[in-house]
């Protein structure tokens, strides 16, 4: 990586860079840093500051969630039954395990264990893929059942297809006329408002604006999934570099920085899982 260009004035070669040419220069030390430790600390601080922007980035969505849930708790209680709790828990476990293997990858790089480093990165990558696979299954179910964001929300869920684990069961009045009759007398103010507003009323107990829950759900999990994809790209790059054997006790900064990012993605999911799937 020696990029001493010919245009560099003579005096620079004589002062600062002279010792670099003497052979003491570590292979992975960029020329604007004094030492590997300084380079590592600067890179790490840079990554932390990036993570701070990420926290505030997701913070906007958490704020939307908090405002909407504070004002319309019934929408969250109703709509979260459509989410597959077991798949959410599975994805949580997958992501925690991938965080564990990523942390171990950093450790392996620090100790110069090339084989372990490669293995850990591959497992982390596979876990990320598995996470997105489960996410795909969930998104497809939502799509098939019309459980989409506000404006596109047109649920058509039958009892057999219903994956939630608790009432209220959205039963169509066509399949169970008694349920339809019963609801006419049990109309809550919310659902009456929905009926008069010309919205669907075939799902008894469905609060007005139920689709907004799915707007928030898709925004939060979608942005998170994009971050998982970004992480996979970064880990793939790490893996290529690891196969080339560039990481070791002297130089493992990139593994550490990508690890920090990956743990933050895990951390955000740690909050998303109970907030979206485990509403009580």
């Amino acid at each position: 990586m020696a990029t001493h260009s010919v245009e560099v004035p003579e005096q620079f070669h004589q002062t600062g860079e002279q010792e670099h040419h003497a052979g003491e220069h570590p292979a992975h030390l960029a020329h604007h840093f004094d030492s590997m430790a300084q380079q590592f600390a600067a890179g790490k601080l840079g990554m932390w500051i990036f993570l701070v922007t990420e926290i505030l980035f997701f913070g906007g969505l958490f704020c939307a969630y908090a405002v909407y849930r504070a004002n319309h708790p019934e929408v969250f209680v109703y709509a979260h039954h459509f989410l597959h709790k077991n798949l959410g828990a599975l994805n949580t476990a997958i992501l925690i395990f991938s965080s564990f293997t990523m942390a171990w990858a950093v450790r392996a790089a620090q100790l110069g264990q090339q084989q372990t480093l490669r293995l850990c990165l591959i497992i982390t990558l596979l876990c990320a893929g598995a996470f997105l696979g489960v996410k795909y299954v969930e998104y497809r179910q939502k799509w098939e059942h019309g459980l989409l964001w506000a404006g596109w929300y047109h649920p058509h869920v039958t009892d057999a297809e219903h994956h939630g684990d608790a009432p209220p069961k959205p039963v169509s009045p066509v399949t169970s006329p008694t349920a339809g009759k019963a609801t006419t007398s049990q109309h809550t103010p919310e659902s009456t408002a929905a009926a008069t507003a010309g919205e669907r009323s075939e799902y008894p107990g469905e609060p007005r604006l139920a689709g907004v829950f799915f707007s928030i759900y898709f925004c939060m999990t979608g942005l998170h999934a994009l971050h998982v994809i970004g992480g996979m790209i970064a880990i793939t790059w790490l893996l290529i570099r690891a196969v080339q054997g560039v990481f070791g006790p002297e130089y493992y900064g990139p593994v550490d920085y990508v690890g920090l990012y990956w743990h933050l993605v895990d951390m955000i999911w740690i909050y998303l899982f109970p907030l979206l799937y485990l509403i009580h």
Partner: protein, 114 residues
């Protein structure tokens, strides 16, 4: 284990987290995940949300302290992170205070437009 004293070793300014710590944190995170699912079987009213957020925060703290090395690193990284969380709390807190105060009026205006 060959890495017996690797726990104290410092490499290029970093700290090698002992393997057993990583395994213990991983197991703790799984247990807490099971706990947060189990907590939904009990009706605590509004306490359920507090329990869910509390458990999530313990999990996030474990990830930050051990997986992200904050427990071992120079405190400056932890300060940067904590300041971000304080600003997030300020952002969420003030917004919610505002929403609490104005929502009834907003709701009334939506339902009975003049």
């Amino acid at each position: 284990m060959a890495s017996q004293h690797a726990g104290q070793a410092h490499h290029a300014g970093g700290h090698v987290v002992p393997g057993y710590v990583l395994v213990a944190v991983f197991i703790a995170l799984l247990v807490l995940t099971a706990l947060t699912v189990a907590a939904t079987w009990i009706d605590l009213g509004s306490g359920n949300l507090l329990v869910a957020i509390g458990i999530a925060t313990v999990k996030a703290a474990l990830v930050a302290l051990f997986f992200m090395h904050l427990r071992y690193d120079h405190p400056f990284y932890g300060i940067v992170f904590t300041v971000a969380l304080l600003f997030l709390a300020l952002f969420l807190g003030l917004t919610l205070v505002d929403v609490r105060q104005t929502f009834p009026e907003v709701q009334a205006a939506i339902e009975n437009p003049v």
